[in-house]
Amino acid sequence: MQLSREALLRAYRQMKVIREFEERLHVDIQTGEIAGFTHLYCGQEAVAVGVCEHLSVEDKIVSTHRGHGHCLAKGCDVNGMMKEIWGSREGLCKGKGGSMHIADVDKGMLGANGIVGGGAPIAVGAGIAAKIDGNGHVSIAFSGDGACNQGTTFEAMNMAVVTKAATIFVFENNHYSEHTGFEYAVGTTRDIASRAEAFGMKVWRGDGTDFFSVFETMREVLEYVRVPGNGPAAVEFDTERFFGHFEGDPQRYRGPGELDRIRELRDCLKNFRKSVTDAKLLDHADLDALDAEVLEAIEESVRQAKAAPRGTAEDVLTDVYISY
């Protein structure tokens, strides 16, 4: 199905926001001003956006430790996120969550997750809630090729099938679980979707570096899962991680020229630009204008994050039940 010009521009902008958000973090983290662990989503933007462009705020997603892209794609505020990662009390989670725990439940974003494999069971709960309410809403469990080896993910898949939860397991295979190759760590078939299939789910596969592949695949998956009673489904997207597992990772596990090659051939933004300009759906000027606008928006978010107020010792004690 042909997307409207507005939809194409929006999809590109969403991916570009994630890209520039992450590229800017990569630079700023090196100054030492940002605390903690940060895992960048750069390279996988087509998956987050290709999935979330189909979703309403009533649909829920559960994300991973590499969650910035999912958060932004689901509608979390760019400035609130940047402030959170910089640790301000004006951040989306008041500086209490940080990069690995960004959430905005009102937007249907039930949390990034510092525990690999922690999210899928939670998504099943959201999927059961959607099933109970019978309104066609769904939950999405984003998991990587690392989380696909966690028992919690297997439990979640079986539980979703048994309870007919309206849950979609989206596996983003970026070929690396932390610093270990997919070909080593994912045993047997070296294929994640077939595992979901073995639990009795309908499965799909797509190219996670191609927005259109993700978007069209997800249209089919969602048409299926939104039918009450159909239960869960799974989809595996083959994608690329442009940075290390965490910021500061020396990435000695990469092959010669690998990063240059994937940046050249497997960049979802370049692929998108080529597709839409070759097909004369958008021209370069449209996209260039968006690029400039997004860069300025990210610059502004950093300006705000640097100037935003910091938390105090009193803030440590709020937002939780404490008995001492």
């Binding site: 829920k60 949390g111 099943v124 709960g125 959201a126 059961i128 439990e155 937002d319 939780v320 039940y321």
Partner: protein, 337 residues
């Protein structure tokens, strides 16, 4: 008032709350029981009979029988709670927190804080705990010391059927996650229970089950009955004991303990969990810190030994705090100097 068993107080309260609020759902292993068998649904209504009849009344959408997948059960409770439901998840044995701890500890207990206070997580996690059934090391444990040590969780340990009703209802209506620990050996105990369908006991308010001037005994659960027996025996000798049933360990009613010790000057804490880093040690430390000047004797903790729970009857009996051990501890604080 009606007389009912501890286990019936559980299922009655759940049913009343499910009737009152359609967002309350129940999930767990065999909470329906018999699914996928020739016997059919409700062939067994939970192994503790704490969900009997719920499936027939409220249906499969709200009484969700799950596979044996404790992580997925706890995770599903988390996702339901974040999606506007009020899940009551049952962990068949408290010992099984081991396979599901990430979801309880790293997820459910932390959402509200980690997400900057913008969400609530109204999940109740019920579990059967405690020794006395010769169920050995993996089916007898008291896990409150582990869970009480986790920020973000409230931990409730009712002793009487009336307290089950008041505390479970408060747990279900609470917007924070609540661990609700039910002692296996108390399920068959009967007691008077208020009929009021809004009867609730606020957390952090201990119950004084015996009053006296000479010694403060703090406990909860199965062992509270042992403490009461000791207090009754000593009363005949003219020794008065305050017996405090904590009811909840997080929050904990520090004030009631300190007020009592300020009068008695003597403290014995009786705890079914292992001694190291225990609730008993924590209470003794609190009293030493905050009521030091009132103390007439060093506080005593009565715990089992720091071993796994043994199987054989005589071994388990030797392991558990008994009325004799409690009495010895009380006499020790009385005899000091």
């Amino acid at each position: 008032m009606a007389k009912m068993m501890y286990r019936d107080a559980v299922v009655t309260t759940i049913a009343e709350e499910m009737e009152r609020d359609e967002n309350v759902v129940v999930l767990g292993e065999d909470v329906v029981g018999g699914m996928g068998t020739p016997g059919g649904p409700e062939a067994i209504g939970g192994i503790w009979s704490t969900s009997t009849g719920l499936y027939g009344r409220f249906g499969a959408d709200r009484v969700i029988d799950t596979p044996i997948s404790e992580s997925a059960i706890m995770g599903a409770a988390a996702g339901l709670a974040l999606s506007g439901k009020r899940p009551i998840a049952e962990l068949m044995f408290a010992d099984f927190i081991g396979v599901s701890l990430d979801q309880i500890w790293n997820q459910i207990g932390k959402f509200r804080y980690m997400f900057g206070g913008k969400t609530k997580c109204p999940a109740v996690i019920r579990m059967a705990y405690g020794a006395g059934y010769n169920a050995a090391a993996q089916h007898s444990q008291s896990v409150h010391q582990i869970l009480t040590g986790m920020p973000g969780l409230k931990v409730v340990m009712p002793t009487t059927p009336a307290d089950v009703k008041g505390l479970l209802r408060a747990a279900i209506r609470d917007d924070d996650p609540v661990i609700f620990l039910e002692h296996k050996a108390l399920y068959g105990v009967s007691g008077e229970v208020p009929d009021d369908k809004d009867y609730m006991i606020p957390f952090g308010h201990a119950r004084l089950s015996r009053a006296g001037q000479d010694v403060t005994i703090v406990s909860t659960g199965l062992l509270l009955g042992f403490c009461e027996a000791v207090a009754d025996k000593l009363a005949a000798e003219g020794i008065g004991c305050d017996v405090i049933d904590l009811r909840t360990t997080s929050p904990i009613d520090e004030e009631s303990i300190l007020d009592s010790v300020e009068v008695t000057g003597r403290l014995v804490v009786v705890d079914e969990a292992p001694p190291r880093c225990s609730l008993a040690a924590d209470i003794c430390a609190t009293v030493a810190n905050k009521a030091f000047a009132s103390l007439k004797a060093p506080p005593q903790a009565v715990n089992p030994p720091h071993t796994p729970i043994p199987f054989a009857r005589e071994l388990e009996s030797a392991y558990l705090p008994s009325a004799d051990k409690i009495e010895a501890a009380v006499r020790k604080v009385l005899a000091y100097r």
